[in-house]
Symmetry: C2
């Protein structure tokens, strides 16, 4: 199944996609839905209904609203690590964003003038569907609600001001997430999903989720050894090669750019970039 959080008449709603359109669910966001232990059954029951809601791109919100935790992994695409001449890591490199960092999948991303080096990072995002603490990778796998797309937009100048990346990663409304959560029965990143990023139609990143060093279940299991994860929490799994900072010369997002982030089987994010002069 494919779930989304959309704005209907000014209020957020969880919806499920069908071949006929979107069916409304009695929850104000996908996170609220996932907090119901029997959420799969609830969605299946509503799929029998015929109450369709109109959904256009302007109505999409971040697929999860107000997650408690948004945890990101860096250095996680095997082919990119090897091409950079680095060793494969023994442990995942983890940092954080906030619910405030998130933006809609088709939102205009409007930045203030604080950063001069706004960069892209196409990423597979995993949405947690059950509470887990100290879980094995097998338990983690069954706690995954589904997968979606994100772009871990990074302010490189802020990210490199100190040793800790957080301040360059947590700008408000910088990180599009969506458009839909696709459940694991319809989507298997381990088997391989093409992931790419385009700026103004030019492909700048291209990779495959089968080359993740730490897959979704491994990341959730590892994180759960130090902190609890709950329904709606978001894990960003890292980005393949091709970020703007690593180009010669470096290239960053500019006012008016159109950023498209695509993962096969899930869909795409499409975000216009607005940066004041």
């Amino acid at each position: 199944m494919r779930l989304a959080t959309v704005n209907i008449d000014g209020l957020p709603h969880a919806v499920v996609e069908t071949s006929r359109g979107f069916v409304d669910l009695p929850f104000s966001s996908v996170r609220d839905l996932l907090e119901a232990p029997s959420w799969r059954t609830i969605v299946e029951r509503h799929l029998l209904d015929d109450v369709l809601v109109p959904v256009d791109s302007a109505t999409y919100l971040p697929v999860v609203l107000a997650p408690h935790k948004v945890i990101c992994c860096g250095h996680n695409y095997r082919d990119h690590i090897i091409e950079m001449g680095r060793e494969l890591p023994s442990f995942p490199t983890l940092f954080t964003k906030y619910a405030d960092s998130l933006a809609g999948p088709y939102a205009e991303l409007s930045f203030n003038s604080e950063s001069k080096e706004i960069d892209w990072e196409a990423e597979l995002a995993v949405i947690v569907g059950a509470e887990v603490k100290n879980c094995t990778p097998e338990q983690a796998l069954s706690a995954i609600a589904g997968y979606t797309i994100s772009n871990d937009i990074s302010m490189r100048d802020w990210q490199r001001r100190t040793l800790q990346w957080f301040q360059g990663k947590a700008f408000d409304a910088s990180t599009p997430l969506g458009p839909v959560l696709v459940t694991p029965d319809e989507c298997d990143p381990k088997a391989g999903l093409a992931i790419s990023c385009q700026v103004n139609g030019e492909t700048v990143q291209s990779g495959n989720t089968s080359t993740l060093v730490f897959d979704a279940a491994a990341l959730i299991s590892y994180i759960s050894r130090f902190t609890v994860l709950r329904p709606g929490d978001v894990i960003l799994t890292g980005t393949p090669g091709g970020v703007g900072m690593a180009r010669t010369p470096p290239r960053f997002l500019a006012d008016g750019d159109v950023l498209v982030t695509t993962i096969g089987g899930i869909g795409e994010l499409r975000n216009h970039i607005s940066i004041p002069n």
Copy 2:
């Protein structure tokens, strides 16, 4: 005024300390109280009441429950930076914890066997009292609800597994916070508050908040340039010299240790350490 969050008959309550004892407030935690724009007036009105509630050390909860953001600053005590031969930083080094990371001021801190290098970091904590975004240091100063004590307990082995410290800083229930929030009219860290940490009665850290490179207002102003801060959010301001990792040989917390963290004019945290063999 001095505010606390305590457990009364199994439910959390915000209370205010008076010379006669603690007066109950109609909020379930200091964060809920701070979300009321007129919180100072509300507390003053209740101070006229004579309804005292019994408070002993077992009833203290983290002074703020469920903050949206817990942001920490590293490398921030001038004397310690200079004694280590480092340059004073141009920007604050920031990383994060979670509401789940917090523990009561007198709680037993029970760790699992994941870390073998559990270290102390006595810190002044600042509690935000109003929503701020892109604020000046002057605006930040008037948005401070007050000050309290924390110990940024750090799992050094996890902290150093990768370049990003987060995974060694965000173990659940690792970070005592409290016992009271003291409002700025009664507490001025810039003028200088003695801060110290004792393990089993031995003083291992001793510093003064007047030597902070980035003071509370500077940190809030800086953070607000990339993300909004709200009432109840917590900023940990860094630790003076004397952490266990920097000793020769290194020293870490052991099962049965008693950790006391003291800031003049606020009070002390007293935490028994429990670590399985």
